[in-house]
Symmetry: C2
Subunit: 241 residues, 2 copies
């Protein structure tokens, strides 16, 4: 009982900090995307594909979270965008307190400093590979993207419902492996119908590039909204001067 | 700081309970195996294969742990062995306190009740699909089996070192998919050499059955040791009468 009470307090202070950070992102015209999945479902590959496709049109920054090591951050940095590694030192998720150690610096950095520019900015946050804990911690990011790769099996929403409930879009990755694995889209559909019937689902392959156009279409639409929110913030700032 | 102190207390009381439960298993001649992996790496398939291969030679019981649902328990129960489902209701792992709610009942049940029989018994515990948290909680089981499936990628030990450090045998599953995925055994070997060079590694496919003979050989050897320990316990009991 005591343990649950402590956990609730931790969650409440995390949520408050996340809301404050969200306002900083909005004021800076940044769209934050939190990418979650089991280990090895293709989070870093999705980040690489997304950065490659969008880096000419948008300023992009990436936060890579891992228990240990900086393998992924080095992969992403090769693409020429600013990338920061968070090591959770054993923790199974990232929370807004961990982001607080890197977020102000990122928002001040040269890439993002043009706060008054009309140029939408994108912050990709790759969470720790885990289908359980990351779903419990609110981040300042605007949308949760969940990846499920087909070798993991179609029974995952039944077993990890919170992750799918908290998701704003579900990417079914590694569809190039469909001929070699048992993945039942009907089972998946039945489970998601109970958990979150309105969840958009895209079939993609970060390896072959299949379906990524629709993912980028979704992301560009959200970036347009970010631009509008940013304009509204700028307008409010100008009014208050 | 406070949070860490609470966590340490939780771990210490968990370990004490796990040690007491381990003694109960030893006294009853039961070999406990804790199976851990990311979601969808093939834990339940390994349990099914193992039960099918060994159920004529050993008494087997299975504990299935999931956040929610009883999909896996129903799969295993079809094979005609006693199977209990634990729902962690959101928790990302199982601990010995959760096992306490089912273990005494399992050890009393008709399959296992012949405490003085010389027949080795096997308890398979399928942990929650997660490469982080389950490694932190000591269970009464004698060995930790970690499964890594090749679609997850060969970089996992670098990112989740504790899981591989705590492991007593590593099963590389879904090797039938090797022609279609990028999996670098040299990268895996390099990482494991730093973390736990003595860790035995077996390549298996729970789908095709490849390599399972070596897994069963490993398990049968451990069951022989259980038999010796059990004989020692019986001898001690007889002496004390």
């Amino acid at each position: 009982m005591k343990r649950i009470a402590v956990f609730r307090k931790v969650l409440a202070s995390n949520d408050a900090l996340a809301r404050a950070q969200r306002e900083q992102l909005d004021a800076a015209g940044v769209l934050g995307i939190n990418i979650m999945s089991a280990p090895g479902s293709g989070k870093t590959s999705l980040v690489e594909r997304t950065v490659t496709a969008l880096k000419r049109d948008y300023r992009i920054q990436v936060i890579e979270a891992d228990i240990q090591g900086d393998l992924d951050a080095r992969r992403v940095a090769r693409l020429g965008v600013e990338c920061v590694q968070i090591n959770t030192q054993g923790d199974c998720h990232i929370d807004s307190l961990m982001l607080q150690s890197v977020l102000p610096q990122l928002l001040r950095s040269s890439d993002f400093e043009l706060r008054h520019s009309d140029f939408p900015k994108l912050l990709l946050v790759e969470n720790v590979g885990n289908l359980v804990c990351p779903a419990e911690f609110q981040l300042p990011t605007h949308y949760n993207v969940t990846i499920l790769s087909v070798p993991e099996g179609s029974d995952k929403p039944v077993k990890y419902p919170l992750m799918f409930l908290k998701s704003d879009i579900l990417l079914i990755n590694k569809v190039d492996l469909l001929p070699y694995v048992d993945f039942d889209f009907r089972q998946l559909g039945r489970a998601l119908k109970r958990i979150k019937p309105e969840l958009p689902i895209l079939r993609i392959s970060t390896k072959t590039g299949q379906g990524l156009d629709r993912w980028l279409f979704w992301l560009r639409a959200k970036l347009k909204t970010t631009r509008s929110i940013h304009r509204f913030h700028r307008f409010r700032r100008l009014e208050s001067v």
